[in-house]
Amino acid sequence: MSPILEVKGLQTSFGAVNVLAGVSFAVEPGETYAMVGESGSGKTTVIRAIAGLAPAQAGSVKFDGEEIRGISERAMRPLRKDIAMMFQDPTGSLSPRLTVRNLVTEPYRIQGMKDKDLDAEAKRLLELVNLPAHFADRYPYQLSGGQARRVGVARALALEPKLILADEPTAGLDVSVQGELLNLLNDLRDRLGLSMVIITHNLNVVRHIADRMGILYLGRLVEEGTTEAIFDEPRHPYTHCLLSANPEPDPDARLERIALKGEPPSLLIRPKGCEFRERCPMASDICMQTPIWEVENGHGLRCLTPR
């Protein structure tokens, strides 16, 4: 089976700032891929570039075999039925003066499908995300964070897309409702056969929703593999630091924390050699060389001093 999404060497710069320095990954149909990274890693730019909302100066993005990097908005428009996005700010991504009904049926209007019974579609979509039917008349400011998120999911599913790109789907949600959203996404994915790319810095979320994950640092993937493999045996020191930085809800937990030194370097002055070198607890002289991406048994790694 060919991948539903294939990204190769994606590069994006905003002026002099090189945000994405060559990102490559692939998503199989029905798979959930998590792109993990911290602020400044470029993870939001990755999905925006894929969706054509951010520029991509070089590289290839193939959706269902078709090249979409750099195509015109006109050429992209029909594909927007198949690629749906969910944004980080749950209420902020909803047009404030539209009712929920109009918000979830907006994709139909945009694609010119006005002959459909939009009221019925709205009902169907609200049911899909477990929102009571009377929510159709509400406005975004009348919704809680969790409810607004679900409206975003409903909207994303309106035209039965093949691929969902979700930017921090659980950000801003209380812990007690995060599970609800993740369960919903998992369920929908199973029922509708969706493929998903999830951007997050929350490793706990990744564990429960992603099949495979990639760790992004400074606009480049440093490690990639199945979620289990990465959690059980992280090989890149950065991955290891990220995983150990998770405080556990147990006051007696003895934490083997690997401290990361300093802050991520400025994107204007990328370090020479391995870009993680200056903060890496395992750095040595060999790291002055530029590490290359190597794949072994489906596990990708860019490191000269792996664990």
Partner: protein, 326 residues
């Protein structure tokens, strides 16, 4: 001399709105001892913002203090004259916010702001600058002298938060209120901030009131924990007691739902179904009743916050088995 620094005593606060009174805080009681780190755990709508603004007396015009006292070193802050309150704020009681940009004035340099904060001390300007530089070093900002000239936007989010901590601790407050200081930060930065706070707390001996909905951080940092839900305290106690032997269903469910706690990939994650009740239209009885799996008929009556053992309080009928068995 009492050990207690801050005492919240039966505090009830409403907001008057067009829809009716929003009962944001109902009968809140807990205290903070000198040098202690107390965590307030609560999700959206639990009342923590109202609590903080009540302690600092920086409340919205439609706030109504219905009952209770907020005693700081024995004095009730709610009846204190504004001039005295102003002297306390920023010197005896300091605060850091979730969004560091709220603390910093974007058009003034960091150095200028840190010098301004010291307006009550009677030392020279250059003295104040060197104190500011020392504080920046204490929070791990490299090259502090040079950095004093820079503006907030020239720093990353993590650094801005550290500067906010430096500014808050400069006056050596007795009480530091930290309102979700790490919620907006990545995990690795969060860890750095927490460790820094721990070091500084040991050095300055201030008490910290740490508000967060991130259970892992609370578990790591705090000595005692107060769990709030929809405007009420449902449980409070020693951090070990709360995490290892929670006595309120909400606390139990909250710990269960925290994904950090679930090691294996779960098909279906636990969640607390339902929504937080409308504070203008409170249900009868226990506030958590509608979402609680263990609710019984007794819960139609509001359970009082009872002392279960030394230092551990909970508001739940399940802790009081009835004389006649059900």
């Amino acid at each position: 001399m009492s050990d207690t620094l801050l005492e919240i005593d039966n505090l009830s606060v409403d907001y008057e709105t067009a829809r009716g009174d929003l009962k944001a805080l109902r009968d809140i009681s807990f205290d903070v001892k000198k040098g202690e780190i107390v965590g307030i755990v609560g999700e959206s709508g639990c009342g923590k913002s109202t609590l903080i603004s009540s302690i600092l007396r920086l409340t919205a015009p439609n706030t109504r203090f219905r009952q209770g006292e907020v005693r700081f070193k024995g004095d009730d802050l709610l009846t204190m004259p504004e001039r005295q309150m102003r002297n306390l704020r920023g010197s005896d009681i300091s605060i850091i916010f979730q969004d560091p940009m709220q603390t910093h004035n974007p058009v003034l340099s960091i150095g200028r702001q840190m010098v301004d904060i010291q307006h009550r001390t009677k030392v020279s300007k250059s003295e104040k600058r060197s104190i500011a530089a020392k504080m920046l070093a204490a929070v791990g900002i490299p090259d502090p002298e040079a950095r004093l000239k820079q503006y907030p936007h020239e720093f990353s989010g993590g650094m801005r938060q550290r500067i906010a901590i430096a500014m808050a601790l400069m006056s050596e407050p007795d009480l530091l209120i930290a309102d979700e200081p790490t919620t907006a930060l990545d995990a690795t930065l969060e860890v750095q901030i927490i460790e820094r706070l721990q070091e500084l707390q040991r050095e300055f001996h201030c008490a910290i009131l740490f508000i967060s909905h991130h259970l892992g951080v609370i578990a790591e940092l705090c000595d005692r924990v107060v769990v709030m839900y929809a405007g009420a305290v449902v449980e409070s106690g020693d951090v070990r007691e709360i995490f290892h032997d929670p006595k309120h269903p909400y606390t139990r469910r909250l710990i269960e739902c925290d994904p950090g706690h679930i090691k294996e990939r779960a098909r279906v994650l636990p969640t607390i179904p339902g929504e937080v009740p409308d504070l203008a239209n409170l249900p009868d009885g226990c506030i958590f009743r509608d979402r609680c799996e263990q609710a019984t008929d007794r819960c139609a009556q509001v359970p009082p916050l009872e002392k279960l053992k030394e230092g551990h309080f909970a508001a739940c009928w399940l802790n009081h088995p009835e004389e006649s068995s059900t």
